[in-house]
């Protein structure tokens, strides 16, 4: 099973340390694998905090998120929610 979605980064700091850590934490709760792809770049492992950081995504970046596995739909939904909540950040 595979699901994809294009998500936009809405918090001021972009995909910084804390946000990346939250994503990695989320992936640990699911069996499915998570991948991120920024336009013009290689796809990276969503369970690797360093890969997410080196994607270097400031506010406003859109990325292609792909979840693969049995619970990929649920995982993708949660990731979507996390992005929409600006990773729990105020701005």
């Amino acid at each position: 099973m595979e699901h994809t979605k294009r998500l936009k980064i809405n918090n001021d700091l972009g995909l910084h340390g804390r946000a990346a850590a939250k994503i990695v934490e989320l992936t640990k709760k699911y069996k499915s694998k998570l991948y991120f792809k920024k336009d013009g770049h290689q796809e990276v492992d969503g369970a690797s905090i360093l890969s997410i950081l080196t994607l270097a995504c400031p506010r406003g970046t859109e990325i292609e998120v792909r979840a693969v596995g049995k619970d990929s739909k649920e995982l993708l939904n949660e990731v979507d929610l996390l992005f929409k909540n600006r990773f729990g950040e105020k701005r």
Binding site: L13, G14, L15, H16, G17, R18, A20, A21, V24, E25, D45, A47, S48, I49, L50, S51, L53, T54, A56, P58
Partner: protein, 600 residues
Amino acid sequence: MNDNAVTEGTTLKGIAVSPGIIIGRARVVDRSQQKIIYQYLINDEEVGREVERFKEALQLTKNQIMDLKNRMSDQIKEHSFILDAHSMIVDDTMVSDTTINTILEEKINAEWALKKSLQKIKQLFKEIDYEYIRGRINDVENVTERILRNLTGKGYESLSKIKEKVIIVAHDLSPADTSELNTSMVMGFITDMGGKTSHTAIIAQGLKIPAVVGLESATNYVQDGTLLIVDGYKGEVIVDPDDDIIIAYQERKLYYDKYISSALRLSYLPAETPDGYRISIKANIEFLEEASAAKDYGAEGIGLYRTEYLYLMSKAVPGEEELFQDYKQVAEIISPDQVTIRTLDLGGDKFLSYHGFGDEVNPALGLRAIRFCLKEPSIFKSQLRAILRASAYGKIRIMFPMVSGLEELLEVKKVLHEVMKELEKEGVKYDHSIKVGAMIEIPSAVMVADSLAAHLDFFSIGTNDLIQYALAIDRVNEHVAYMYDPYHPAVIRMIMQTVKAAKDNGIEVALCGEMAGDPLCTALLLGTGIDELSMNTGAIPLLKKLIRSLSYEEAVENLNEILKLTTSKEVREFIAKKTETLLPEIGVEGLSLNMATSNS
């Protein structure tokens, strides 16, 4: 430059931060890089063992990080995410899988393979355009360093285990490092990093041992056991000196020691000028244990009791009772003189280095001191309760650090009054007329000093931070530390403005930065009409002696001239010229040489 090249008699120049001369052997505290050797593994069995060894080191590293996290107290748990992130870095494929693959494919040892992984990651981070993300490479380095130490079985070297008298040589020392030092075994400090007001400087002055910081590359020249001469007057370190130099320094040392002890004999006398102007000289202390030494050195009270130590030492935020006992003892030792207790100035460099957080991009402008306290009212209130309770046992004043404006001050005072009411309700004794003051150390506070004065009993000008903020100089950045300049006309005007606001409102004004203990600045500060100078204990005898030989009337005249000068060079030269004959050789030489090097 060659690593570890020891050239006979090489003189390294740095910044003198604590006076004295010592000759002794080096003990290098390696907090930065591990030396890594390359090893080729001969057979698959070895390769398999190497992978296992690496996995064990990863597990151990994770356990250590979790242990660190568990030891954090509840109040600061919200910062624990950084440790979670560190744990994730250990697990990250770029670290773990990549290294294991390298071991398997290239048949090399784990240390070398890990180093290769780190280099790859560094390369990736280098290309990132955003400073706040690029800076996270520090976390990766921190984590790989920890894994390396676990691989080599070295663990983190503990400074508490030092058993012989040594000169500590380090790239940099954190408050956590120095707090575990067996200080009786340390003759002096030299570090690559740091400036006049760095933590190492403050500790060395408190211990009255010489220190030279900002040497940039001392750790490259010095190895364990290297013979060193540390000249804490000139800010020089001589590596592996020959016999002639050693003898010359022995003589110098004797001369200075003799001079200091003569100043010490007279230090019980008040700091009163021949024309009858008296200024109060007090000590800055960091630990309870320093209080009696301060008295012996002639301090007329404690002008600044920094209260961070207990917080940095304990694994959790210390309880009210522990704080109360500590404050009460200091008050009792110093009684009948006064102790000015500064409330918690955590955050900034101290908080961060102790807990290993690299969270704030700009900690000096971040969540520290009263900002932190207002955000953590339970920590703040428990300290205020402890201070107030202790005020029943001696003369105590409360001082708030980092006040930036009136709203903030009123908010802080509101908390103080709440705590007072609580104590009253509970029937607990405290000094109801306790004096409340603020550190003036942010330029905005200087500008609104007149409105702050109406709500306070005293000011204490904290020149270390004031200079840092006014001149935009990061005092621990070795590249700009030399620009840290107390003679800058802007600094002098700010001091004058603060003093005037205090006088206009009839409140007392003190000065408690490094400037207070700087003999050259004394002549300048005397003329301002400041009521009190608070300094590191070691500087008191000399300063008192100096003030007893200066004329107040002349100091006022000189200050009027100084206020017309437009560059710090002119200011410095003017003061040096005026005080040439008065300043004892010891002060002039050490300081003027420092100034000369920082000018070039």
